[in-house]
Symmetry: C2
Subunit: 317 residues, 2 copies
Amino acid sequence: MNLVVAVDIGGTQIRTAVYEPNDSTPLKLQRVESQALKPGVYERLVKTIEAVWPGREQVTAIGFSSPGPLDPHRGIILATPNIPEWKDFPVRAKLSEHFGVPVHIDNDANLAGLAEWKYGAGRGHHNVLYLTISTGIGGGVIIEDRLLQGYHGLAAEVGHTIIDPDGPLCGCGHRGHVESFSSGPAIARYVNEQLAAGVKSTLQADPNLSARQVADAALQGDALAIAAFARAGEYLGIGVANYLAILDPSIIIFGGGVSRAGDLLFKPFEESLRKNILHPRYLEDLVITRAALGDDAGLLGARALAELRTEGVKIPP
Amino acid sequence: MNLVVAVDIGGTQIRTAVYEPNDSTPLKLQRVESQALKPGVYERLVKTIEAVWPGREQVTAIGFSSPGPLDPHRGIILATPNIPEWKDFPVRAKLSEHFGVPVHIDNDANLAGLAEWKYGAGRGHHNVLYLTISTGIGGGVIIEDRLLQGYHGLAAEVGHTIIDPDGPLCGCGHRGHVESFSSGPAIARYVNEQLAAGVKSTLQADPNLSARQVADAALQGDALAIAAFARAGEYLGIGVANYLAILDPSIIIFGGGVSRAGDLLFKPFEESLRKNILHPRYLEDLVITRAALGDDAGLLGARALAELRTEGVKIPP
């Protein structure tokens, strides 16, 4: 059997699954809480893999998805804020030694992009730009059917390019990144700033304000809430115009909670993209769509990575 | 014989050459004036190829470099300002029909990048960012030993991403592009603006002022001229920090006349890059260097493209 074991670890859950080739339904699936702030994350991870493990002879590879930053070439988790126990953690070597099969790793955003390309909204496309917009902005890029990883494995950081050197402070400490304008917290922060400046709204100043609450107010007609999404969409359009000039994909796929705001965000986004794109030719036949895969995008991306990397070393029949 | 014929057409010259595999010296080389503003450019092009043509049986492919924008997938020159006669001009089909061999085309900046990767400063690297800084800013990107072209063939427009929505007007009509801050004309324009605002300098306001003249004044200690290059370098650092976050190359290669200004531009550039880079890891082992190939980069890039595309279809021995 040529089974692939997929692993997706996040701050909340560890998911593991076993897949047969050409079958999208897993043979087995396991979900447990990662309890990422408590010791023993790696041991819980191993147990959750063992819970689905079909035996070493059956498995060609393990695919592994984790929050970044990580080094996919060396198989090391560098320092992910979601799992404080893991610093320069050689997860590939450890899992590979334990289970006796090759392990391939990459970060969750890259692998969600890879999953959308192979199983989701991007099927049939060869050049894909995937962006996930939630508390941060991340992404994954497929170029001619290959995942863009980069020399250090740090490519496709689509939330962290500067589009205004005098822009707001980003969570990463830099100024004017796309994420500092268009992520969920950026939308909420803008509303709080405008409220503090005296702008009238049905919303109340609140350090815990969420983009979801702003979206609800916008749907009720609140002008400030609508303006907050319009601003996020406008700057997102500038960032994406830049990415098109560099990458020239045939499809843009949006995932993440904030993208559920729909037209509130995407109407101003598309208007901004049309205004800021270097040349209208980039938009010819360009598909702009929402992610098709749900919470299993990380698992499916880990599976896709393992299958892609295995193809290269398959022994011919 | 597996000869490749390389063609490089620009606003000034048409160059053609014939190369043997694994030999960097052409068997034959021809240069003529393109007289690009006069009718008959295509006929002059054909004659200049015929002047080196070794016979159809000897040639595996023609590689063709031209100013853009062009569509490398369909083999069409869309509308290059340097050759006004060519609008939606199907150069690949015409040359292929005339000479009876496959023709592969791409724009001069992409192919200069490809040439630097294969024969120049980027040899041995797999992920290359090439930028040429002169009257405009263009570039070429190599990802895992493949030229980044994009779905429409419009990728790697590294001069035309927005780094400040309120920035100067770019030659392309948009605002705040890297080119509008850091190209030769952008440097000269900044000096003229500062002179008009009353800043003292050894330079005189002059609509024909060149970046070369500004560089000469800077080398003589002129404070405004030094500041003009410092500003160009600072914004170039922002743009390149963005490209590293997306592409994560192992080498950046600078070509073009303005890059000959050396430290005047590159000291402030490197300082800005260090300040604006998302994370210092992008800079680990990163090579920043000058282009190694001179005026023949276009020819060598056309040759490299033809060889790369031919490898894919070679009949096994």
